[in-house]
């Protein structure tokens, strides 16, 4: 699907350094996959979205200004894809046991691993508006300004969402709010998924 999209792409005016653009695309794959996973939780769907983002970015390469924030530009395309799909097809999130298992073995010790799994589970319960900025700022190290530019809102809004997201995560991971009682988030299902 993705490849055919690339093949269908009509050549655009060669006003960009395509080799450099491709290298930037390759370099950002890990972060793109990570951000996509934090938005949709479903591994396959997240990878599909990340690839679709790469295809769209390639098709729109002429509109990218070299020397500007490539990561913010890519994240903006990705979240646009996500929200488009999100509006079309949403469902209640389910906890991915594979993710839980993976994060459980990544911690340096058992206590840290349990905390990490708790944070991962709590993260899924956050509203997506808080989750995305929290991941951009806290996990990907973006500035508030870049995050605001990426999602198209005021810096103050980003700061507020990050603060609220952090506070909610803290409450959930400290047991003030039972994760099972927290409102499930809405996320999207990949085509053909059973629920």
């Amino acid at each position: 699907m993705m490849i055919s999209a690339i093949e269908a792409d009509e050549a655009e005016p060669a006003i960009v350094d395509e080799e450099a653009f491709k290298n930037d695309l390759v370099a950002i794959i890990p972060s793109l996959r990570s951000f996509a996973r934090s938005l949709c939780h479903d591994r396959e769907l997240a990878d599909d979205m990340a690839q679709e983002t790469m295809v769209r970015a390639w098709s729109a390469r002429a509109s990218y200004t070299a020397g500007t924030n490539f990561r913010a530009w890519m994240f903006r395309i990705l979240r646009n894809n996500f929200y488009t799909a999100y509006r079309k097809n949403w469902r209640n999130a389910v906890w991915d046991p594979e993710v839980a298992e993976r994060v459980l073995v990544t911690g340096p010790n058992q206590e840290a691993a349990i905390n990490l799994a708790d944070v991962a589970a709590a993260l899924e319960k956050l509203p997506v508006e808080q989750r995305e900025v929290l991941m951009m700022v806290a996990a990907h190290g973006m500035s508030y300004e870049d995050a605001a530019e990426t999602i198209g809102c005021a810096v103050g809004t980003v700061k507020s969402r990050v603060a609220r997201g952090r506070a909610a995560l803290k409450r959930m991971t400290e047991g003030e709010v039972d994760l099972l009682d927290a409102a499930p988030i809405a996320t999207i299902a990949r085509p053909g998924a059973s629920n």
């Binding site: 993705m2 490849i3 690339i6 093949e7 792409d9 050549a11 060669a14 395509e18 080799e19 491709k22 930037d24 695309l25 390759v26 370099a27 950002i28 794959i29 890990p30 972060s31 996959r33 990570s34 996973r37 934090s38 990878d47 990340a50 690839q51 790469m54 295809v55 390639w58 200004t65 020397g67 500007t68 924030n69 490539f70 990561r71 913010a72 530009w73 903006r76 993976r102 994060v103 990544t106 911690g107 905390n115 990490l116 944070v119 991962a120 991941m135 700022v137 806290a138 996990a139 990907h140 190290g141 500035s143 508030y144 300004e145 870049d146 530019e149 990426t150 952090r166 803290k170 991971t173």
Partner: protein, 81 residues
């Protein structure tokens, strides 16, 4: 399709959090002077956990489907030369 070639091209992983143009502003040429605000660092268990979650995904091997996509892009670049 020569996937092996592309795997070698992808074998140098970017350092996490150091994507290209990381320090540059969106749609702002290099050298622009805008205030950049980052969260204060310090003891931050939530932030640490979120970074570990990010790292756990970002350090995964890149799936073959991504390599195929990159190969197609490289083919397009070749064709346009």
């Amino acid at each position: 399709m020569d996937i092996g070639h592309h795997q070698s091209a992808l074998s140098v992983k970017p350092v996490l959090g150091e994507d290209t143009h990381l320090s540059k502003k969106l749609n702002e040429p290099t050298g622009g002077r805008k205030t950049i605000t980052t969260p204060s660092r310090g003891r931050d268990p939530i932030g640490d956990a979120l970074r570990q979650l990010h790292d756990s995904v970002a350090s995964e091997p890149i799936p073959p489907s991504f390599l195929d996509l990159v190969a197609e892009i490289e083919k397009k670049i070749e064709q346009s030369r």
